[in-house]
């Protein structure tokens, strides 16, 4: 329970601090300190056990089915980090109380700090790697809040964004790595992963796993080439830098390296990638640090350099190097935090961080100067200070490679060069700030800071000294358990002492010290050189380029693929569909023609098919002249009805025929309002392109249809054929299907038809469209709109047509026909009266209100259905009886016929409604023409 509470306390504390901050700054600081102490208190009872070498694991169910539990782990290494986080955190809280000015909102700072502390504790105390990653990302988020604390400053915003972008993306890479690790080992539990080192290293996925995890660790720990975000994050308030950028957050990366050391290390890949990265970072950081005029900039690059050193140590892969790495983590945290705090004091007192202006502070604040000098000496690796001890171990380790590798001697050489620069920049920090003449034009008059502001620095510097002089008494036990936690095994023989005799490492230290002094002496020409190169070696350049590049790619993609034009969308759509279809074909080639029997072939069919193809093609070619295209379309419809007839489907042929007539009339009515031809919009190449695509897609469809049709299929026709007469009482199967087997569908369809008619009526009622007064050539319309001969003939035709309709309706159940066709025939007959005789004439003789007709049709159809329901049968069950009439013979009366009557009425009503009102638009749109006599 304790570990969970330890991690949660700061999160809950954040809310507390935010609430308390309203009372005042002191209260906020006290609350933050209290929360930190409370978190520490949960940990305290466990310290004893950890020092005895036990690893404590706490498990809480979270997502049991996914095998993800909230699991915490405390071993020596975790404890070391937890202590650093809490201890330095406490000091920073105290320090920050004095650092910020009264107008800064301290509540926000402390809240962010608590969130960060909780996240960081979560990282170091997690047993589950996914959980570790969650906390890892949380550190990025909370550090974003802290770095952007002074959000009114541009550089703070940029720095925070950059830090978040780089570390957040690194976190996603880490997610990938952890997923792979989980896949390899079968578990996300650190205990399992740590024990599965051999399995992981031998796995084919080892390299991607390693790369992804290293990407996460390197971005977090500001390793080359991702180091640029750290100096930019220096826009943060100094307490934040002291905490995040020296002791904790940037250490999360090396923490991860150390944590997974037993699993991932020991391969050439690990050694090469990790140690080369570390080495480069070490050198670059050290060199750049010397040339930074900004106090915090110098410290930032120095931090980068030291992080490189630690990375390099883990990269070497030997247990002793790992131990040295852990040791340097401790030392660096103490001296760098105190240096940042000292820098903060100087910034706070002088109002600037420019080392060219801050000079001679020794005279003003000798006490602070002493503290800073001790810490800087530790950073330079001067004997008697803690930095010396770990650095000496580092030098020893670098010498180990000389014999192993061909160019192994390069490593100690680079280490010495980096050491020289480290001494030089430490010297610069001391000499420039505290001596070197008088201060230049400072914004404020500096003096010693308050007692309490110095206290945290004092504590840390005391630690530097104690560890530096009495390592065996102070740091050794903690280091031992921490290193054991890292190595997951026995410690290598080692001795941490100030004096080991005149070893090669000591000589290297001495060379570095002397060299450093010499370099600093000769700094003026170097600075001049650096000033000339300024900006050219700016490390954020690649980042900026990368961002610009991504933007460029994004724009390019958008321009190419973000199509506003529907035609191009359709082109792409059809092309993609075609490609996917083709892929299906090529992946599994099959014979195009199936095994089914083919129908006999006759010349008439061929002729019909050719005619159909010719008409269709002509429609496409001539579609710009609308009238011609429409006529051709009518021809296509007629041929189709012929084809229906050929396949013995007279019902369909009849329906197609009547529908065709009605549609063409409808289209003609609409055509009146449109120009005679469609303008050409596509260019010739585009037409060719579209043609090719259409041919390909159509060809594909045809091939598929051919393939499907030539395969033997079980037809459902037989069922209907056998059941039509006994079940529905009709010999005309199509009609029985419509009114009986699928009666429900038909009821739905006529309802839709009725609604469509009403809808079109609602839209057209009273509509006036500007219609052309003359045709395209400017000729007036024929004044004789209703020629007498035609009018008379059509009037004669009406009774005949109606008779045919009734005939078709009545015979429908047994022979080709039915309500639908009859309805269409009637409608055509009536509409012809309108066309030939004019609206006024027809209206005088026919009821204009068609709504009752439609309603009656629907009512009859529904009543037929309800009737069967009332008699205890399912809805729309049909029954039939046979009568024997004299003269006429046997006559069947089926309830389905009533239903058919309903269909008939609705079709007539709706079709007429639509056509008449389309026609009325014409009349409303132009001056009334002469009526026929």
């Amino acid at each position: 329970m304790n570990l969970l509470l330890c991690v949660i306390t700061p999160f809950l504390g954040a809310a507390l601090v935010a609430a308390v901050a309203r009372l005042g700054t002191w209260q906020a600081a006290a609350a933050a300190a209290g929360v930190t102490l409370a978190a520490g208190a949960w940990l305290a009872p466990l310290v004893g056990g950890t020092f005895q070498g036990t690893t404590l694991i706490e498990r809480y169910t979270w997502m049991p089915r996914e095998g993800l539990d909230l699991t915490f782990r405390l071993d020596g290494f975790g404890l070391l980090f937890a202590l650093m986080i809490l201890g330095i955190g406490l000091l920073v809280i105290l320090y920050a109380r004095w650092y910020f000015s009264p107008q800064d909102r301290l509540g926000r700072f402390y809240t962010g700090m608590m969130l960060f502390m909780g996240s960081m504790l979560g990282v170091v105390l997690s047993e589950n790697l996914i959980q570790l990653l969650i906390f890892w990302e949380l550190t990025s988020l909370s550090s974003f809040l802290l770095i952007s604390y002074w959000q009114q400053r541009t550089e703070a915003r940029q720095g925070a964004r950059m830090a978040l972008t780089v570390t957040g993306m690194g976190g996603l890479a880490l997610l990938g790595g952890i997923l792979l690790l989980g896949q390899i080992t079968g578990s996300y539990d650190l205990s399992v992963v740590l024990a599965a080192g051999d399995q992981v290293r031998a796995h084919p996925l080892y390299l991607p796993t390693l790369l992804l995890i290293l990407l996460g660790a390197f971005t977090k720990s500001a390793q080359f080439p991702f180091h640029f975000w750290l100096p930019n994050a220096m826009a943060a308030p100094t307490p934040v830098s002291a905490y995040l950028h020296s002791a904790t957050m940037v250490k999360a990366g090396v923490f991860l390296l150390a944590r997974l050391f037993p699993t991932l290390s020991g391969t050439p890949e690990w050694t090469w990638i990790v140690s080369l990265t570390g080495l480069t970072t070490l050198l670059i950081g050290a060199v750049f640090a010397l040339f930074k005029h900004d106090l915090k900039g110098l410290l930032a690059y120095s931090t980068i350099s030291h992080l490189g050193l630690i990375t390099l140590l883990f990269g070497l892969g030997t247990p002793l190097a790992a131990l040295a790495g852990v040791f340097h983590i401790i030392n660096h945290a103490t001296f760098k935090a105190s240096l940042f705090m000292a820098a903060g004091i100087i910034d706070h007192e002088t109002g600037t961080r420019d080392m060219r202006r801050i000079n001679g502070m020794w005279g003003v604040m000798p006490y602070t100067a002493t503290l800073a000098m001790v810490a800087a000496a530790a950073m330079a690796g001067v004997p008697l200070f803690n930095g010396f001890l770990s650095k000496e171990m580092f030098f020893t380790e670098t010498l180990g490679t000389v014999a192993q590798l061909r160019f192994g001697w390069l490593l100690p050489l680079t280490a010495i060069v980096a050491g020289i620069f480290a001494v030089a920049y430490s010297l610069r920090f001391i000499h420039d700030v505290f001596f070197n003449g008088a201060p230049i034009d400072l914004p404020r008059t500096p003096h010693e800071p308050s007692r309490w502001m110095r206290l945290p620095v004092e504590v840390l510097v005391a630690l530097c000294l104690l560890v530096g002089m009495l390592p065996a008494l102070t740091v050794e036990p903690l280091l031992a358990i921490a290193a054991r936690g890292v190595l997951q095994g026995p410690l290598p023989p080692h001795s941490i002492a100030i004096w080991h005799g005149f070893t090669p490492a000591l000589w290297m230290s001495l060379i570095a010290l002397t060299g450093g002094v010499l370099v600093y002496e000769g700094r003026r020409p170097l600075f001049a050189l650096a000033a000339r190169l300024e900006g050219r070696l700016e490390a954020r350049r690649p980042y900026d380029w990368l961002v610009a590049g991504v933007f460029g790619v994004a724009r390019w993609v958008t321009v190419r693929l973000d199509l506003a034009s529907l035609q191009r969308m359709l082109f792409l759509f059809v092309l993609s569909a075609l490609a996917l279809g083709m892929a299906g074909f090529w992946s599994a080639p099959m014979p195009l023609t199936g095994a089914g029997p083919l129908l006999p072939f006759d010349p008439v069919s061929l002729l019909v098919a050719l005619g159909l193809a010719a008409c269709t093609a002509s429609v496409v070619v001539l579609h710009r002249s609308r009238l011609i295209a429409l006529i051709l379309l009518g021809a296509v419809g007629l041929i189709v009805s012929l084809i229906f007839a050929k396949f013995s489907a007279p019902d369909l042929a009849l329906t197609q025929l009547s529908v065709e007539v009605v549609t063409i009339v409808l289209l003609l009515l609409a055509l009146y309002f449109l120009p005679q031809s469609t303008p050409a919009e596509s260019s010739r190449p585009r037409q060719v392109r579209d043609l090719l695509l259409a041919l390909a897609a159509g060809g594909g469809n045809a091939a598929l249809a051919w393939a499907v049709l030539t395969r033997p299929a079980e037809s459902i026709a037989d069922w209907f054929l056998t059941h039509s007469l006994p079940g529905g009482g009709g010999a005309n199967v199509v009609n029985v299907i419509l009114v009986d087997f699928r009666g429900f569908d038909t009821l739905g369809e006529i309802t839709v038809l009725a609604l469509a008619g009403l809808g079109i009526y609602a839209m057209l009622d009273g509509l006036r469209l500007p219609a052309p007064a003359a045709d395209a050539q400017g000729r007036a319309w024929d004044p004789d709109a209703h020629p007498l001969i035609m009018a008379s003939l059509v009037r004669l035709l009406l009774p005949l047509a109606l008779l045919v309709a009734v005939y078709i309706l009545l015979r429908g159940h047994q022979l080709p026909g039915g309500g639908f066709i009859a309805g269409l025939v009637t409608a055509v007959a009536l509409i012809m009266q309108y066309l030939a005789n004019g609206v006024a004439w027809t209206r005088a003789r026919l009821p204009a209100n068609l709504h009752p007709l439609i309603a009656a049709g629907l009512l009859i159809a529904t009543m037929t259905g309800l009737g069967s329901l009332a008699l205890g049968y399912p809805f729309l069950t049909s029954s039939f009886v046979h009568f024997h009439w004299a003269l006429v013979g046997d006559f069947e009366l089926a309830s389905a016929m009533a239903f058919d009557l309903g269909v008939y009425l609705v079709v007539v009503g709706a079709t007429l409604l639509i056509l008449i009102h389309l026609g009325l638009v014409h009349d409303l749109s132009r001056p009334p023409a002469e009526e026929p006599r």
Partner: protein, 478 residues
């Protein structure tokens, strides 16, 4: 065969929505202009009733009704509940926007309710026919909704494009369905599954059928290369419609893909897995990359949707129960996220002004810190940053993919997510770091604020405690 009224039990939620739509349609005729809010209340009540009914008839064994046309199982329960909740949220967000523009008409609610009905029918479907009915009801309602603001040229253009492409997409889906029907002789998914298992991928007609089904599904989801409509429609449609269209229908589309591919054509898994993999990679890639270049935030959301669809496909193509459950979790939480993100846009809009450029989010923190925090949460979630639910969704999906040894897919997804994180963070930057471009205060109603609070905090809460929802998702795929 006499009708058994027990058939009606599983579709009680659908019936409730249908009745509500009908009631709103009629009541609206008698409402004065100032009382149009009654429609809103009625619609919400209807959604609530449907939600309660979903809970009442839900749970327990799988039930088939209407001769196997309709199914009620744990998956349909959860998806229906999700669709109803998200739809209710979008209606709440939409109201002030519509009111400001005199668009608070009954038609909006009728169309929305019809769309919800379509979604529920899709979710309940157990035959191709029912599924298609639901799909078309949804699509037709959406076409009309996109053109809802008749004075907007952009809206009409978007609706036209949506309609033409949608008809093509539906056509291809039907084409695929017809082939599968031809090969299996049934439209009922259970029977199809049995027939397909018997024939396997030996029957090439089936393979083609699957290809066209995937195209249709890809279109409905907006997966690359069938995505072209998404950015245009998101940009052109009125914000509330884009919000509605971008959230709950994804849940219904998920039901569609599961019913068709997983329940119906599981035996052809290897065939559709490859196709989905292509669509997923293209979607994640293009969606994330193109989103960066957008300055219109609605368009950016459009591309963002495309990339999220890729993730949903990733979970599905894994083909394991874990993958399906992860994809379901992802879909549900994504719908919530999308509703919230668009909701913020409606909140930022006011009479005569539509928030739709990234710039319009500038300085939101100064104008309203609470909404700023909610939007930041939503954006972090969309980027997949822990501890929000977006991270959980990505994690679960990626894990499922890695488990079935498709490591490269996971790596590609991670790579593009890293790029994708960029544009979400840019939104956060605008919210927190930039100065507001306008001094007009943000006016919202208490209801909107409450809904947004619930929405935003749910994103956080589900990320911290995903087990409950995930458990439900996993129970749906035993």
């Amino acid at each position: 065969m006499p009708f058994n009224s027990a058939n009606l039990l599983p579709i009680l939620p659908e019936i409730a929505i249908l009745i509500t739509a009908a009631v709103v349609l009629v009541v609206d005729l008698y409402l004065k202009e100032k009382d149009k809010g009654v429609n809103h209340v009625l619609a919400l009540i209807g959604l609530l009733v449907a939600f309660v009914l979903t809970g009442l008839v839900g749970g327990g064994e799988r039930v088939l009704a209407f001769d196997g046309n309709v199914v009620r199982d744990l998956m349909s329960d959860l998806l229906k509940a999700g669709a109803l909740i998200v739809s209710a949220l979008t209606l709440v967000y939409a109201r002030p926007w519509l009111k400001d523009r005199n668009l608070l008409a009954g038609e909006f609610y009728v169309l929305s309710l019809c769309a919800v009905l379509g979604m529920l029918v899709m979710i309940s479907a157990n035959t191709f026919l029912t599924l298609y009915l639901g799909l078309e009801l949804l699509a037709l309602s959406l076409y009309a909704l996109v053109a809802f603001d008749r004075d907007s040229k952009l809206g009409s253009e978007a609706a036209m494009k949506y309609f033409v492409l949608g008809a093509l997409g539906s056509g291809l889906l039907l084409y695929g369905i017809s082939m599968i029907y031809g090969a299996t002789g049934s439209i009922e998914l259970g029977a199809v599954a049995r027939a397909v298992a018997e024939q396997g991928s030996g029957n090439k007609v089936l393979v083609f059928g699957v290809a066209f089904l995937v195209i249709g599904i890809g279109f409905k989801f907006g997966a690359v290369p069938f995505h072209m409509w998404v950015p245009d429609i998101y940009e052109g449609a009125p914000t509330p419609v884009a919000m509605f269209l971008g959230s709950a229908p994804k849940i219904a589309a998920f039901a569609m893909i599961v019913r068709l591919l997983v329940e119906g054509l599981n035996a052809l898994h290897t065939d559709w897995q490859g196709m989905l993999a292509i669509l997923a990679v293209l979607s994640i890639g293009l969606g994330n990359v193109a989103a960066i270049a957008q300055s219109n935030i609605k368009r950016m959301f459009g591309y963002s949707t495309i990339s999220h669809v890729g993730f949903i496909f990733l979970g599905l193509l894994a083909g394991s129960t874990q993958g399906y459950a992860s994809a379901m979790f992802y879909t549900l939480t994504y719908a919530l996220m999308a509703a919230g993100a668009f909701g913020i846009l409606t909140i930022l809009s006011r009479e005569g002004f539509d928030a739709q450029n990234l710039e319009d989010l500038k300085g939101l923190n100064e104008r309203d810190p609470w909404y700023a925090a909610m939007m930041a949460l939503l954006m972090f979630s969309a980027a997949g940053v822990p501890p929000t639910v977006g991270f959980m969704g990505k994690l679960l999906v990626l894990e499922a993919v890695v488990r079935v040894d498709m490591v490269w897919l996971a790596l590609v997804a991670v790579f593009f997510s890293i790029i994708g994180a960029f544009y979400y963070l840019r939104v956060v930057k605008f919210i927190y770091f930039d100065q507001p471009t306008t001094a007009v205060p943000i006016v919202t109603t208490g209801g909107v604020r409450a809904a947004m609070t619930v929405n935003g905090l749910a994103i956080l809460f589900l990320g911290l405690f995903p087990a409950a929802l995930l458990g439900l998702c996993q129970a749906a795929f035993p």
